[in-house]
């Protein structure tokens, strides 16, 4: 499984009282808080300022062994030379020094796992993404921001022509609530012959440890943030499937992991900046879709209104012309019903025959005359377009 040659800040370490802490100028080393193949990370206090820091101590080479200290110095020199300015998502290294026996460097100290600020208390444990994931997946908004911070940090390395080669949750420290990519022990320049080192679980199947390998590892780390499942469960969503389906931000992140963790390196994002670009584009897509759909809605309403107006004009244009018709009854006067509607003046008084009604549609109407005490005189269907006078008699 994982064969990390780098520090694992999350490994709980017993206080090692048998060996005195190494002597490091200006710092009191309080106790070890992390361990790696080649060095130990200590909780330390600056003797002058009293500030708490993390100090990594690496023994210098003994004859016949590999030179981890030399490798760390190379990596750190590279980092300083290539990175033009400090990046907020890379762990800050304040000082690098050497004693007769050790190489040491002084770094930011991670928050406590509880989320509180770092302290010298005996129960202090550095907060990493790995320790955070022990409590399950990150809440969706935090997933998005942590993913972005990880990619920003990684992109700054890639842009400076370097490859991290050991991106994993244990190397993502939380300092003041911000994610900082740490452990530059395997850092190398992107155009060098790149050997297969790092943590196996996060290595791509093709084994080439270049910027695309960092992208692959970052994809798996983001997958763990979303699901809380270990990286080797990728791409399963399990119980999180429904939640991801309902949350557009989680959908975007899941698609991003699928793009980052393709087995064929050519199918992956070339580097962290490209991955970040895709994240930004996908995040803004739903918004632009909303704008588009709003625009579509406006266009549809306008079209509908236009159609409606044309229809009304059509109806108006095609409506029958208006005519006037004389109504005459004999031997009695009568009220007039056209299509069963009694015809009345604007003030409500019924028209009585003989009279002329104006503005009548020139089409077929049913006409009935009524006189109180007499049966209704049904004239029948009369076409006003052809008839200008309707005359009726009571027998």
């Amino acid at each position: 499984m994982s064969d990390s040659s780098t520090s694992d800040a999350n490994a709980a370490l017993p206080c090692d009282n048998d060996q005195p802490p190494p002597d490091v100028p200006d710092f009191d080393l309080i106790r070890p808080i992390g361990r790696g193949g080649f060095g130990q990370v200590w909780l330390a206090r600056n003797r002058t300022t009293g500030h708490l820091r993390a100090v990594k101590v690496i023994p210098l080479r003994r004859s016949g062994t590999t030179d981890p200290a030399g490798r760390e110095i190379t990596s750190l020199t590279r980092l300083e030379a290539n990175l033009r300015r400090r990046h907020p998502n890379l762990l800050n290294i304040h000082h690098v020094g050497k004693t007769a026996k050790h190489l040491f460097y002084v770094m930011d100290l991670a928050d406590d796992v509880s989320g509180a600020a770092a302290s010298a208390e005996s129960d202090y444990r550095p907060a990493t993404l790995q320790s955070r994931l022990q409590n399950g997946p990150l809440p969706p908004p935090q997933c998005g921001s942590c993913a972005r911070q990880l990619l920003e940090g990684l992109a700054s390395l890639h842009e400076a022509g370097m490859v991290h080669r050991d991106v994993k949750p244990a190397n993502c420290l939380l300092v003041d609530g911000q994610l900082k990519l740490a452990d530059f022990g395997l850092l190398t320049e992107a155009d060098r012959q790149i050997s297969r080192v790092g943590t196996e679980k996060y290595m791509p199947p093709d084994g080439r440890m270049d910027t695309r390998a960092d992208v692959y590892a970052a994809g798996l780390v983001i997958y763990e943030m979303i699901t809380g499942l270990p990286a080797d469960s990728f791409p399963r969503l399990g119980d999180k499937a429904q939640e991801v389906a309902e949350d557009p931000a989680l959908c975007v992140l899941t698609r991003l992991t699928l793009g980052a963790c393709q087995p064929d390196p050519q199918q992956r994002f070339p580097d962290a900046r490209a991955m970040l670009g895709e994240l930004t584009a996908s995040e803004s897509q739903p918004a632009s879709r909303r704008v588009r759909s709003r625009r579509r809605m406006v266009v549809s309403i306008a079209t509908l209104a236009g159609i409606l107006m044309l229809a009304m004009i059509g109806i108006w244009a095609s409506r029958p012309p208006r005519v006037h018709v004389n109504f005459i009854t004999e031997p009695f006067e009568a009220t007039i019903f056209i299509d069963d509607v009694r015809q009345v003046t604007p003030d409500g008084t019924p028209y009585t025959t003989p009279c002329t009604l104006e503005n009548l549609p020139a089409r077929v109407h049913r006409v009935v005359f009524k006189h109180e005490g007499l049966p209704d005189r049904v004239v029948g269907q009369i076409d006003f377009a052809a008839t200008r006078q309707v005359v009726a008699r009571w027998p």
Binding site: M1, S2, A11, L133, Q134, N135, G136, P137, T227, G228, L229, P230, D232, S233, F234, P235, R236, L237, G238, D239, A241, Q242, V244, A245, C251, T254, R255, L258, G259, C261, Q262, P263
Partner: protein, 230 residues
């Protein structure tokens, strides 16, 4: 990608334990079986985790790779015996009360064994669940992650085509095609497994019986530490 002929015997290899496995592969495949069985036999979560760890150490005593020798009988029976012995050892310990780290309340290490009409039926079922999960893992490693996720979401999680398309970035049609491909591959890998057309249903049940990611994470961390220091 593995060829179909080699993989056709995967189920038999899994069933017989004759496929050589490194500790992490063995752990990945069998931890939930051991954990579930220890829980089934009355252990607390904490003790069940201890038992997983002890079983792993027992299996890998001095070796780096595990390969079962079929002369010892059926692999599943042998593994069941190892787990049962570990549970019995815990039950015999003078202090049966195991304290969880950082917890104030002592947890009962092992509860008295409940009356169990068919103790082996549970193991057989759990063993089959493990085989099915391993089958699914084998398919997962062979196909593109996008296709596998489409399969999982459609066939196991029951999401709609539109939802799956949104999550995977595939078209709906491509998502359904991916489901068919993965299912076909699972059937090939299953070989002699008589699924009666219920393969996805059985896989669904097998997955639902697995402990959650929190247990898996905590156990993985413990095991990594233990095996590294071995």
């Amino acid at each position: 990608m593995m060829n179909g002929k080699t993989r056709a015997t995967l189920l038999e290899q899994l069933r017989d334990g004759t496929h050589p496995l490194a500790w992490d592969e063995f752990f990945g495949r069998y931890w939930s079986l051991v954990f579930g069985y220890a829980r089934h036999r009355g252990c607390s979560d904490y003790t069940a985790e201890e038992i997983v760890q002890e079983v792993m150490l027992k299996v890998f005593e001095e070796k780096d790779v595990f390969q079962y020798d079929p002369r010892r009988g059926r692999f599943r029976d042998w593994l069941a015996a190892v787990v049962r012995n570990k549970v019995a050892e815990h039950r015999r310990r003078p202090s049966e009360r195991v304290r969880a780290p950082g917890g104030d309340s002592p947890l009962r290490g092992v509860e008295p064994e409940a009356d169990e009409p068919q103790p082996d039926a549970a193991w057989e079922r759990a063993f089959e669940d493990t085989l099915l999960a391993a089958l699914l893992d084998a398919a997962r490693r062979e196909v593109n992650p996008r296709d596998f996720l489409a399969f999982e979401l459609l066939a196991i999680e029951g999401l709609s085509g539109a939802e799956v398309a949104r999550i995977t970035g595939l078209s709906r049609n491509a998502a359904y095609k991916a489901r068919r491909r993965v299912l076909k591959r699972l059937r090939q890998l299953g070989g002699t497994y008589a699924d009666n057309g219920q393969l996805t249903e059985r896989i669904k049940q097998a997955l639902s019986s697995r402990p959650g990611p929190a247990v898996q994470r905590s156990l993985t961390t413990r095991m990594e530490r233990t095996m590294r220091s071995r």
